[in-house]
């Protein structure tokens, strides 16, 4: 039972670098989400997707891009990383009853 798998678990970036956070789910869920969690705070929705080929912005989309070419995968791309993007990133999928979260990616931008 893999569920929602995120890679990498940890990453350090330099300012201005780019990277892609990978997320894959094996539950055949149409709905997928990216959240970020800053220290001591709740989760903020970055982007979400209601199915392959369909994505939409959440609360804090600036500085990020997403794509959804398959049902299983929902990668999050950071272009020109900034210190403000230092956070823990969670991917989730949903069966419209509840969200299932991945284990998170801890990202530091220095």
């Amino acid at each position: 039972n893999a569920g929602v798998t995120q890679t990498p678990k940890f990453r350090i970036l330099k300012i201005g670098q780019s990277m892609t956070l990978q997320c894959t789910q094996d539950m055949n869920h149409n709905y997928m989400y990216w959240y970020r969690q800053d220290p001591g705070m709740g989760l903020k929705l970055i982007y979400y997707s209601v199915g392959a080929g369909i994505t939409d912005k959440g609360e804090v989309p600036n500085g990020y891009n997403v794509s959804r070419s398959t049902t299983e995968d929902f990668p999050l791309r950071l272009e020109l990383a900034a210190p403000s993007q230092t956070s823990v990133y969670f991917c989730a999928s949903s069966d419209l009853e509840k969200l299932f979260f991945g284990s998170g990616t801890q990202l530091s931008v220095l």
Partner: protein, 114 residues
């Protein structure tokens, strides 16, 4: 602006005591979720409340939803140390829960002392 506010933000309680965490939200919604997060871990789903008046219980935790008051409560009965964690409420702002688009509260850090 949509707000989801929890109080208290921090709760230190003794084992065996009862307490309630409150979640207020500022928009119309009939779906509310409670999650638990242990330090450095992901989020674990506790309750899904799908209608006004919904009440769910699991062990020492009981959650309720009043959509008219835009209020949910998480009641802890006879707390034990294992309940120490951060608890989040989250409101589904999509119409009819069509996209499960959740807005999270800031969390309540619960510390249960022996």
């Amino acid at each position: 602006e949509l707000k989801v506010e929890q109080n208290p933000l921090f709760l230190s309680m003794q084992e065996g005591k009862n307490y309630t965490i409150y979640c207020n939200y500022s928009t119309t919604s009939d779906r509310l979720y409670w999650y638990r997060q242990d330090p450095g871990k992901s989020l674990e789903s506790l309750f899904v409340l799908l209608s006004n008046g919904a009440v769910k219980q699991e062990g020492r935790l009981m959650a309720s939803l009043d959509t008219k008051a835009r209020l949910s409560t998480l009641h802890i009965t006879a707390a034990v140390h294992d309940l120490s964690a951060t608890y989040f409420c989250a409101v589904d702002i999509s119409r009819g829960g069509a996209t499960n688009k959740l807005i999270f509260g800031t969390g309540t850090l619960l510390a249960v002392q022996p």
